[in-house]
């Protein structure tokens, strides 16, 4: 489904990511682990189209989307839950969700809203509440819901557990499991590498922009007990 080949990205003269490659099938999850500045977010942003790669390709369902702008990639099925949630605080929960799926036909909007509310009943209860007044966990749910409104094939999730309570983090992972059951592929960045590696099928360990290790998540040298940070 998603094939990333020899991705290299830089910010000005600084190369933030060297030669990252992987493939991901429908319903598979990939964890990106590594210290701060390792290049995890750069890889995510390069796939989403927010960082223009220096070289390499992003292929989604056999279509090369490397040169396609980010908003078109989103329409093709690349959903992104950005670091820090970044919900629109002055829009209500429902308006945030509608904005999330605006590129898809209006006729399916209510169905997609219902699907999101099925996954996150709390968002239904707070549909008319301003997003800025939600708790951190609820905002994370809203960020997920907003990305789901796009009917994504691949979800990129940057720092899923940042600033959240352990209970809420567990809820987020439970939601990811549901998404995986819907055949959505997941690329996950989490500072809590144990949680990410327990959840994912595959893993890439990045260090200073280089792929240090790559393989099955359960075999990752950083899994269970290893301290990355």
């Amino acid at each position: 489904m998603l094939d990333v080949q020899h991705m290299m990205s830089r910010y000005g003269p600084v190369t933030a990511l060297h030669d990252a490659s992987f493939t991901l099938e429908g319903g598979e999850a990939l964890a990106l682990v590594g210290t701060n500045g390792a290049g995890k977010t750069t890889l995510v942003m390069s796939i989403a189209g927010h960082v223009i790669p220096q070289s390499g390709h992003v292929i989604l369902d056999n279509e090369n989307i490397t040169d396609i702008p980010s908003h078109i990639r989103a329409r093709r099925g690349i959903g992104l839950v950005p670091e820090g949630r970044r919900v629109f605080p002055d829009l209500t929960v429902k308006e945030n969700l509608i904005t999330g799926g605006y590129v898809l036909p209006r006729s399916s909007e209510q169905q997609r809203l219902d699907d999101v509310y099925d996954i996150f009943p709390r968002l239904y209860e707070r549909a008319n509440q301003l997003a800025g007044s939600l708790s951190g966990g609820e905002q994370q749910m809203l960020a997920f819901g907003r990305a789901i409104m796009l009917n994504p094939k691949v979800m990129l999730i940057d720092e899923i557990s940042l600033g959240l309570m352990p209970k809420v983090i567990n809820e987020c992972y439970a939601v990811l499991e549901k998404l995986r059951e819907k055949n959505i592929s997941i690329i996950l960045v989490d500072q809590n590498s144990d949680a990410a590696l327990s959840f994912a099928d595959k893993a890439i360990w990045l260090e200073s922009g280089h792929v240090k290790w790559q393989g099955l998540a359960k075999d990752c040298p950083l899994s269970k007990g290893s301290a990355v940070y």
Partner: protein, 289 residues
Amino acid sequence: MAYEMIVLTNMLIAILFAQSLNLITGFCGQVSLGHAAFLGIGAYTSAMLTKAGWPLAATFIPAMVIAGMIGMIVGAASLRVRHDFLAITTMGVSFLFTGIIRKQDMLGGEMGIAGIPAAYGGRVGLLLMTLCLTILFIIIMIYVKRSWMGYVFESIAEDEDTAGVLGIDVRRFKLFAFVLGTAGAGLAGALYAHQVRFIGPDSFGFVESVTVLSMVIVGGIGSIWGVTIAAALLSVMPQFFQVIDDYKLLVYGMLLFFAMRFMPDGLGGLAKRFRQNRNPDSSSERSQA
């Protein structure tokens, strides 16, 4: 009675003009310091056409189209800049417009255009026409604000990077807001030209752009009713207090400063807080318009 009609028509034109900027700055977050240029484009287009024998109503579309088209060019050129840089770019448009007009003999140059024909129905006709068009524009604004397009505009105003993440074509919507807003200013200009019946480059300078921006800021960026009230008050005040007209840039500049320092949400924000104090349960719910 004639004086009251003039004041009322001026007020309605100011409301229409301020709402057209509210669409760009309030809804879509694009600061413009050159909006008066588009008022001028509409005014000159309409004045030239009515002097050539067109009825006023028939000049509205050309005034809006030409202002909107030039707005599209300015908007397209401004897409790469944000915030302060956008403000400076649009300020340049204002100076560019007056600079060009001054050198065009065809447009009256420094002397402007005099003897613009009166609207059909005289002052009453113009007042009714302005009232209808202003109400129509406000209805469109309310519709846009409550539709998915309004949510998209607001998402761009709040965080355009995240809006792009969601598949929103940020550039297209910013441009669309610019075209719609500048076309609205063109319409206000057409009405203005036939209200004053004399236009010159000085009528559309930087001071006018600051004036209309202060109406939007004092009213509350993005608030339709707040901007309507602020535009009504600020357009009428110089009629009663000559000092305001004499020191317009100073007065409106200070107003902008104090509004941004002490009342950043403007009148719209004040009204919202008042409602929340009366009904605390609604504090986290969205207020419309």
